[in-house]
Symmetry: C2
Subunit: 332 residues, 2 copies
């Protein structure tokens, strides 16, 4: 069972692997490329190589764990957290720990091994957003779980270890520190102005236009004012809502289109950079929040996070967001 | 003039380069190795290639900016922040910005181009700590500056861009978010128990011994209970103090010895990994703090920080700190 441990000073949680703990020599493999083998467990026809699927989009009504799917969600074979068990919160002197309860799933974006996410078409993106939504809403029923983070690692420096294009989700038994900080920030602003800070940000950005990358009926993509990373992009809904569960069908389609648009612009402009995206959604258990606004953050991994950033929480960004937005807007 | 911008939601500051703003094509160079050219500005005899030195250890009493130095501090030629000017705090709608005032210096650890920090001897490490101390104490006199972060990037994945071994320091006109969070955490614990949380942690670690890596008369190195990174190590003074200014001479020697010991163990065990270290010292302007404890954090960069970490602030560590400490203790 993996273990959750809390830093006693800043309250940051860490998942410590205990079963498959690495040895020093395990890190020597770090420079190997992600596997390209013909035995990829995410390929069409190799469904038996993954744990049984928990969700799939099968327009032909084919049987689970057989070909015929377009988007497929399976538990991670080497999960960071485990579904079975109780939290067993306990102390060790001044420290706090609990069992690593949670869920870790893989959203396979396509049955075709060699296609990148940015090669996929509009319908595939809409399937991807639907798969995210279904899984998050399903996991919300587990009262032990407080949060689900959906994210993507594309490329080796962004943390991808399998070439076949996929997203992941990790559900945690506590609300992550970073989400808490965003909520606290949104709440401080709400207490002061009784408005959502994200809504205010969006209306200011739409008025000036200088940091807007692309927009459609339901979503707007901007280069945020205080971007940590060069060409960082945030995708926000025009209507205020906080969770997947509150997103309407036409908004889900708008999100899919906007995400595809942003990733394709970025991939074209920066020539297939490594990147991450993270879906920022409100905690599972809460009611609708006036002060938290659903969004996706996309970060190209073109620069190295070094000692200054790790020590301070400051970031150094060599591309002003106004320039980044202009470059990304002008991509054909 | 670079610009400091504040994220309106979480309060994180970002330094945005404006003068030498990068273009998308600038990132194509990222896979090139750090320069190994014979024209290294940090080499003995090339002192004229750097801005004039602000501090140097010259046992023979040689003139500034000539050979004869052992450790030398110069302003960074391409500083992230600039010394001249005023902060000029201003708003832009809901956003906050100010001019990028601060200092950015390079501590050249040795005049010899090809020696790594871990190749240097005890006296060199003591000179390094002395250079850090002198510079931080000197910058503390500038009332515009609130914090100095001293850090090291070793190896390309840790952000090093020049091969010649060096540390850096960046002085900022605001206390970084991460330092504020540590101080707030220390203060919460103090309010509750009227003891320093770092002191309590240290005494618990010394009693159990299982996460202790190495210790000397004045400093103890541990693998912290909630290590974010595999083989992360913290070096803490036994006596409570918060800043360079409060450190006694024999403690400075103990810190140098402990840092050298930890880095050499890590370098041996992991076969010259890329790494960062960050000196965690209290803000410049404060009086002595009962609840903040000076320390150095060392993080090997063996694993990739991916979407889960960026989205949640959680970390996944595949080496339990008890194992890491044991491996590091056993290095000969």
């Amino acid at each position: 069972m993996p273990e959750l441990r809390k830093d006693p000073i800043v309250g940051r949680w860490v998942i410590v692997a205990t079963e498959r703990a690495a040895r020093p020599s395990d890190f020597k493999l770090k420079h190997e490329s992600p596997t390209e083998s013909g035995t990829c467990p995410f390929d069409r026809g190799r469904e038996a190589m993954t744990p049984p699927e928990v969700f799939a989009i099968r327009p032909g009504g084919t049987l689970p764990n057989t070909p015929g799917w377009l988007t497929r969600v399976v538990p991670n074979r080497f999960p960071a957290l485990r579904v079975e068990g109780e939290l067993k919160r306990q102390g060790e002197g001044i420290y706090d720990r609990m069992d690593g309860i949670g869920a870790h799933e893989v959203i396979i974006e396509t049955p075709e091994h060699a296609r990148d996410l940015t090669d996929l078409d509009q319908a595939d993106f809409r399937n991807l957003i639907r798969a995210m939504t279904e899984r998050v809403n399903d996991l919300a029923r587990d009262v032990r779980l407080k949060y689900v983070l959906v994210f993507k690692n594309h490329g080796r420096t962004a943390g991808a270890s399998l070439r076949h294009s996929h997203c992941q989700l990790i559900a945690t038994p506590i609300v992550p520190q970073q989400v808490k900080e965003e909520i606290a920030g949104g709440r401080r602003y709400w207490d002061f102005r009784e408005r959502c800070i994200f809504c205010d940000m969006l209306s200011q950005e739409l008025e000036s236009g200088k940091r807007v990358i692309t927009e459609n009926e339901h979503f707007v993509a901007i280069a945020p004012f205080a971007s940590r990373f060069a060409f960082e992009s945030w995708i926000l809904p025009r209507r205020h809502f906080g969770t997947f569960a509150e997103m309407r069908d036409n908004e889900a389609a708008g999100l899919a289109d906007s995400l595809r648009d942003v990733l394709r612009r970025m991939t074209r402009l920066l020539e297939n950079p490594d990147y991450n995206f993270m879906v920022h959604t409100a905690p599972l258990s809460g009611a609708a929040m006036d002060y938290y606004h659903f969004h996706i953050e996309v970060i190209p991994r073109e620069t190295t996070v070094a000692g200054f950033e790790w020590g301070s929480g400051f970031f150094i960004n060599s591309v002003p967001p106004e320039n980044a937005a202009k470059y990304l807007r002008e991509v054909e």
